[in-house]
């Protein structure tokens, strides 16, 4: 049984899917320079316009349901990937009251999000994953496998992360946060932008006219370092190879890679090397994090939606913010390229050396 992405929607700093794609193709970053999270320092952040993470999830989930062939989600499994879960709300309580006392432990972890959606939409069941920045990419990987073994007909994959002090200051402490809008793959890049998003993709076992097939998914572990990627790019290469093998495709059949491309020195150097070793210049590569920032656990799902749109529009996204390409042996376009696109790969890499790649196609 094949897995098809039949409808999707997101909310990020650039707005909904339509607004995001317009921003990507017009190279208009939605990132803002913010002074409210870090004392005496600024940071580039991707901020959504929303009341809270729960209402944002409601809005996106309702839109997907409305645009789907389903009347409700009663026969649908929800798999949600997040790196912070209900942390945003708990942080607010802790910082204002300086105590854990009024924190509801059920609203702290990843299940705070799935429990909320279960109450609102009555899914058949829910599952929450948290592998840092690969969380929702791994949700897609599991969804594909569950459809293939005919365990479920409908799976809603969501990637959700709201901005938290812990993550913004944590990345700042690691020295990887940029005080400007990030510039993936540029020689002079100076780090990433933490961001937030809610994204949802309905994966089904039935092909529709507008379906995008989730053709392949692969994962690996670096087994190298807790935060730095393997400098030989072994883990990144393995996840991409595994995804292509799962899809039954060769390297020359991939037309575009939506890179993890965080714009940290380490990630972009290693990811570029992995792409160079596997593909050379045969594939177009860009990172849309220059528009959205790094939406952490939501990134895999956000960029899967971008990849679906790239396939539907037959238009390679340009690299926003790029002035001087560091690795000259990969093919990063500065302008949008209209071309026939059959297969797109999307990469997600995370702390702990957790790597996941997916392949989408028509």
């Amino acid at each position: 049984m094949n897995a098809y992405i039949n409808t999707y929607e997101l909310l990020c700093d650039a707005g909904d899917t339509k607004s995001l794609m317009e921003a990507i193709y017009s190279k208009e970053s939605a990132l803002v320079i913010d002074n409210s999270y870090i004392e005496d320092a600024s940071a580039g952040l991707g901020k959504m316009e929303y009341e809270n993470i729960f209402t944002a999830m409601d809005e996106v989930t309702a839109k997907v349901l409305k645009n789907s062939n389903l009347e409700n989600f009663h026969n649908t499994l929800l798999i949600l990937g997040s790196s912070v879960g209900g942390m945003q709300e708990c942080e607010q309580i802790f910082y204002s009251e300086k105590s854990f006392k009024n924190i509801d432990s059920n609203r702290y972890s990843m299940n705070a999000l799935t429990d909320h959606l279960m109450k609102k939409f009555h899914f058949y069941d829910t599952r929450a994953l948290s592998t840092a920045c690969t969380s929702s990419a791994n949700a897609l990987l599991l969804a594909k496998r569950l459809i293939e073994v005919e365990a479920y007909d409908n799976i809603l994959v969501m990637g959700v992360d709201g901005l938290c002090y812990s993550t913004v200051l944590g990345f700042y402490a690691l020295g990887v946060l940029s005080d400007k809008r990030c510039t993936p793959f540029d020689t002079h890049r100076n780090g990433m932008n933490v961001a937030e998003a809610v994204s949802a993709l309905l994966i089904q076992n039935v092909k529709q006219d507008s379906s995008i097939e989730l053709k392949g998914a692969g994962a690996s572990s670096d087994a190298y370092h807790m935060t730095n990627p393997d400098p030989e790019a072994g883990g990144a290469i393995a996840s991409m190879k595994n995804a292509m093998a799962d899809a039954g495709l060769e390297t020359d059949e991939i037309d575009y890679i939506n890179a993890h491309g965080t714009a940290t020195l380490a990630n972009d150097r290693v990811e570029s090397l992995a792409i160079e070793k596997l593909f050379g210049k045969s594939v177009y590569v860009s990172s849309t994090k220059a528009i959205t920032g790094h939406t952490l656990g939501a990134a895999g799902a956000v960029e899967a939606i971008v990849s679906c749109e790239v396939l539907k529009r037959s238009m390679i996204p340009p690299q926003t913010g790029l002035k001087e390409l560091e690795n000259q042996n990969i093919n990063v376009p500065l302008q949008s390229i209209e071309t026939d696109i059959q297969n797109v790969m999307s990469n997600s890499f995370a702390f702990g050396g957790n790597n996941t790649s997916i392949v989408l196609g028509v």
Binding site: A128, T131, E150
Partner: protein, 215 residues
């Protein structure tokens, strides 16, 4: 929805009211620099993996609260208007424990981390069963909670054991003969997020080899 029969080839469990003692860190992780950075969840995971003789292959790890101590350290730093420790931050992600497992055992295979509230260990088991079905391989399935942090009494209303974990090695059974449904024979007082896997370990200890799991 689809059910599969899993065969359990190894199991282990631990639990302590406050802190698990003698996790044999020095023997399991001889490298002092690595050992010093391990979180409590990582130490418990490495101990349970050792008991199950699991040191490679696909891993499915579950924890509702995961690295609570590191997260609390970060929150307190922010409250004190100090910069969080980079080590605390890198160790605060939910996949920290299996990542240390991967690092120490040079395991380059897939790692999935499940965090589904009080049904975490059930969903961990389901995910491990799926991974076994798809790959045809043995899967190390483990769920851990270590919530022994300062002021935990302010919010702990769910367990008598602040540190606990359960682990199995499973594969897909060749047939469903003698396969049993999951029995409710967990350990009273252990946090609900671990109870389902605790039940599986208890069933295995009592002689059950095959269990039916809904994917």
């Amino acid at each position: 929805m689809k059910k599969v029969a899993i065969k359990i080839t190894a199991s282990a469990k631990v639990y302590a009211p406050v802190k698990l003692e003698d996790l044999e860190e020095k023997r399991i992780v001889p490298n002092m620099m690595v050992r010093r950075r391990l979180t409590r969840n990582a130490k418990v995971m490495l101990y349970l993996a050792d008991k199950c003789a699991a040191n490679n292959g696909k891993v499915v790890y579950g924890s509702c609260y995961s690295e609570l101590e590191e997260t609390a350290n970060i929150a307190n730093s922010v409250l004190m208007k100090e910069l969080p420790s980079p080590i605390s931050f890198q160790n605060s992600v939910y996949n920290t424990a299996p990542s240390y497992f991967s690092l120490i055992h040079k395991d380059q295979d897939e790692i999935i981390t499940v965090s589904s509230g009080m049904k975490t260990s059930l969903d961990t088991l389901k995910t491990a069963a799926l991974q076994a079905l798809v790959s045809g391989e043995k899967i190390f399935c483990v769920a851990i909670e270590c919530i022994n942090i300062k002021n935990i009494d302010e919010i702990n209303r769910c367990t008598e054991y602040l540190e606990a974990g359960a682990a199995i090695v499973l594969e897909i059974a060749q047939n469903t003969e003698d396969a049993k449904e999951l029995e409710d024979i967990g350990i009273p007082g252990v946090i609900d997020s671990l109870q389902d896997l605790m039940c599986v370990v208890m069933m295995h200890e009592q002689g059950t080899e095959k269990i039916l799991v809904e994917l």
